[in-house]
């Protein structure tokens, strides 16, 4: 199905995908504010240039939001980001992720591994889709998932 350029239609698709993509971003970025901001940025990007097909809007949003988050995070690191109030929600979600076994597992992984694992296990993206979304080879996706599983099985982080 070709998406037309009606903003309302895009908003409908966006809202349908929002819950899963937002949670996937939180689990990947470990930062609710960053996830929400990045997803809004992705929505705005979609207004200007929506995806051609609506078959994988969640994957498209995840990819675009991840890229937007990277830019936002770099701005934050440089302490030059946009201003706003401090969110208490971030601490609450961090506590939740600490409590969840999946959250604990994810925190052992690198950001890149997290993005692949979450896209694969939570957003139901295929390895081919993840490869396309992240601009990497399918073999890299498979290897990353395998490494991440092994790491999670052993309960070790990537620190050593």
């Amino acid at each position: 199905v070709i998406i037309d350029h009606d903003p309302l239609d895009w908003e409908r698709l966006y809202r349908q995908a929002y819950p899963s993509v937002y949670r996937a971003l939180v689990a990947t970025l470990l930062d609710a504010d960053l996830a929400a901001d990045a997803l809004q940025d992705a929505f705005v990007a979609g207004i200007d240039r929506p995806p051609l097909h609506d078959a994988n809007v969640a994957g498209w949003l995840f990819r675009v939001a991840m890229r937007k988050a990277g830019r936002t995070r770099r701005r934050r690191m440089l302490a030059l980001g946009p201003t706003g109030a401090v969110s208490l929600e971030r601490d609450q979600i961090a506590a939740l992720l600490d409590r969840l076994s999946v959250g604990q597992l994810l925190q052992m992984l690198t950001p890149r591994q997290r993005s692949i694992v979450v896209a694969y296990f939570y957003l139901d993206q295929t390895q081919e889709q993840i490869a396309e979304l992240l601009g990497i080879r399918r073999g890299t996706v498979a290897a990353t998932i395998s490494q991440a599983l092994a790491r999670m099985r052993k309960g070790e982080g990537h620190v050593r």
Binding site: A27, F43, L80
Partner: protein, 612 residues
């Protein structure tokens, strides 16, 4: 296994609470609403490098802790380091000429962190590296010896702060009180890096508009706010609005008035195709020289260069020009490419000697159906004194970072030569004089690669002085030091709106010596303010006569330590950090000279005092 894990992921991650649906869609649904206030100009970031940091022991937060440095001198000189940020291995030393690996041993003795959320500041003399780790649980600052890479300890500020800058000698840190969300105009603190103590608080600037860039003097004595036109992002129509500069002394907290930067503007333009138009905000590039004496702003079209002498605040506007242009042949291509862009970034960096600027413009294409592509429109070397382009090059590859070697011989670029799905990253070395490619090497698949050029030992000889505390006992001392020895006519060079003014508009000069009045200062100002006077009827005279050498005393009293009336307003005239104020309630009787540490009231002389 996979299905079980999928179920587990869904069961658990679905517990993450959602925000109210009303917040899912941004209020302002245009692209520019999400724009940052400032794109990181490479010039200031020559030392600010993103890399993985780690928590080097989480419990010893009590205070700074000395450790013994080993093998000093590893870094000093012409060493060059690469930072692959996603594996946390720190900087790897490479040959500054042929770019090959010299050592696999990382510069920083740190372990990778759980999150890619750290930032690094390097002091200008290379002595100090400060890594800020923003991992969940709170910010932790780790200090490393820049010459050995060994950890020195932790920086524990007395107040919560977002660290922005280090002094050139690595002894002081400047940050905003609060966190990274705190506005650039908010209250700031200067702290001693050794013990985290607050050395000074810098008051908020007040309302000056959105800040695009805020360079800082190498000794942290002054802040330079380059202010964007207010609200440029809020109106979805093409427009262009002028920029201005505000200067704040961190010693006194005093703010200058707005200093216009002629020819420097932010613009909003329409880009894209007929069906997918987008608003594009384009901004000028800002740079400060390594000695802090000059600030440069390059217009978005690259045609106007403005240089501000930070000592006098005199603004010089120059037309960027070239003798011959390689880029002229390519401009049609550039114009075509620009219609598809949704972001444009102009970056600017002074060469270490301050005589030239290296500028590059990267136009970013965002087509969400395809991986984004970056196109660097051009790299130029611009002579500061004349604005002549002495070298330029065109590169089709997207530039991710630019660093100039401390000796000024080389420019290092990180480029993505091939786009995903099989991206190819390259490090290139250009001759800084000619911008010719001299060396190139491939890089791993890391998007965050940065370059650190370790400073030459000569850089340590920079005359960096620590800011001194305000002189509370003698608030008028600074003005006294200036006007107790005012030079003869034409006197001090005042400026207004960044431009020198003629003595007929405003002059301060010593009284005539042949009458024995040389200890007095005569201030003559065209009246109305801002006009050139051709006769005494078109001007007013105010006199500073602390020794009472002038027989016909001016009306009113000279006061060398006065509180400026609340209705007094700056006239816009500045000499260094000193300004002229007038109060509507007593401007017929007196004028106020306001300096960083105090203010004086000079009485008006009616009729004018003339030496016969």
């Amino acid at each position: 296994m996979s299905d079980d894990l999928r179920d587990l992921f869904k069961k658990e991650l679905d517990q993450i609470p959602l925000r109210p649906p009303g917040t899912w869609v941004p209020a302002a649904r245009h692209r520019s609403a999400a724009r940052p206030t400032w794109r990181f100009p490479v010039t200031i970031g020559g030392a600010a490098i993103v890399l993985i940091a780690a928590l080097v022991g989480g419990s010893q937060l009590a205070s700074f802790r000395e450790r013994t440095a080993a093998a000093p001198g590893v870094v000093a000189g012409r060493a060059l380091y690469l930072s692959p940020s996603f594996n946390g291995s720190g900087w790897i030393q490479i040959d500054p000429d042929n770019l090959k690996d010299l050592s696999s041993k990382p510069l920083l003795d740190i372990a990778p962190s759980l999150t890619n959320s750290s930032a690094t500041l390097v002091s200008q003399d290379g002595s100090t590296i400060l890594v800020s780790d923003y991992s969940p649980g709170g910010v932790q600052y780790s200090i490393y010896d820049g010459r050995t890479g060994r950890p020195r300890g932790y920086f524990v500020p007395e107040v919560p702060m977002a660290l922005d800058s280090l002094s050139a000698d690595g002894r002081l840190a400047l940050g905003r009180i609060g966190d990274y969300r705190t506005p650039m105009t908010a209250e700031k603190v200067i702290l001693s890096l050794a013990d985290g103590h607050v050395v000074r608080r810098v008051p908020p600037t007040g309302e000056i508009g959105p800040v695009q860039a805020r360079p800082v003097a190498p000794d942290l004595s002054a802040l330079y706010y380059v202010v964007t036109p207010s609200g440029i992002l809020d109106i979805a129509v093409p427009r262009s609005l002028p920029y201005s500069l505000y200067v704040q002394s961190t010693i006194t907290g005093a703010m200058s008035g707005p200093i216009a930067l002629p020819g420097i503007a932010a613009a909003t333009v329409v880009t894209g195709t007929v069906t997918t138009t987008a608003m594009l905000d384009v901004r000028p590039a800002i740079a400060i020289s390594s000695d802090g004496t000059r600030l440069a702003a390059l217009s978005t079209d690259g045609r106007t260069l403005v240089i501000v002498d930070t000592r006098t605040l005199v603004v010089t506007e120059l037309a960027v020009h070239r003798k011959t242009s390689l880029l002229d042949l390519l401009r049609p291509l550039v114009a075509e490419a620009k219609t598809l862009n949704d972001e444009e970034r102009v970056s600017l960096a002074f060469t270490p000697d301050g005589q030239s600027l290296i500028s590059f413009i990267t136009s970013t294409h965002y087509n969400e159906q395809l991986p984004p592509t970056l196109t660097t429109r051009g790299i130029e070397r611009i002579e500061v004194a004349t604005a002549l382009i002495t070298a330029e090059a065109f590169a089709a590859d997207g530039v991710y970072g630019l660093t100039i070697s401390p000796d000024g011989r080389s420019v290092y670029l990180i480029v993505r030569a091939k786009e995903p799905p099989t991206p190819v990253y390259l490090l290139r070395r250009l001759d800084a004089q000619t911008l010719e490619l001299k060396a190139e090497r491939g890089l791993p698949d890391y998007a965050e690669l940065e370059v650190l050029a370790a400073p030459d030992p000569a850089a340590a000889r920079l005359p960096v002085a620590l800011p001194t505390a305000p002189r509370r006992s003698a608030p008028g001392a600074a003005l006294g030091a200036i006007f107790d020895s005012t030079p003869d006519y034409p006197g001090y060079p005042w400026i207004r709106d960044g431009r020198p003014v003629k003595p007929e508009e405003l002059g301060t000069s010593a009284g005539p010596a042949h009458c024995g009045w040389q200890s007095a200062t005569f201030l003559t100002i065209g009246w109305p303010v801002g006009t050139l006077s051709t006769s005494s009827a078109e001007s007013r005279q105010y006199i500073r006569d602390p020794r009472g050498v002038i027989p016909n005393r001016p009306r009113g009293r000279l006061d060398l330590n006065v509180t400026v009336p609340s209705d007094a307003r700056p006239t816009g005239y500045m000499y260094g950090a000193n300004q002229i104020y007038l109060s509507p309630s007593d401007q017929d009787d007196a004028i106020y000279v306001v300096g960083p540490t105090g203010a004086e009231r000079w009485p008006r002389s009616v009729p004018m005092s003339l030496c016969q």
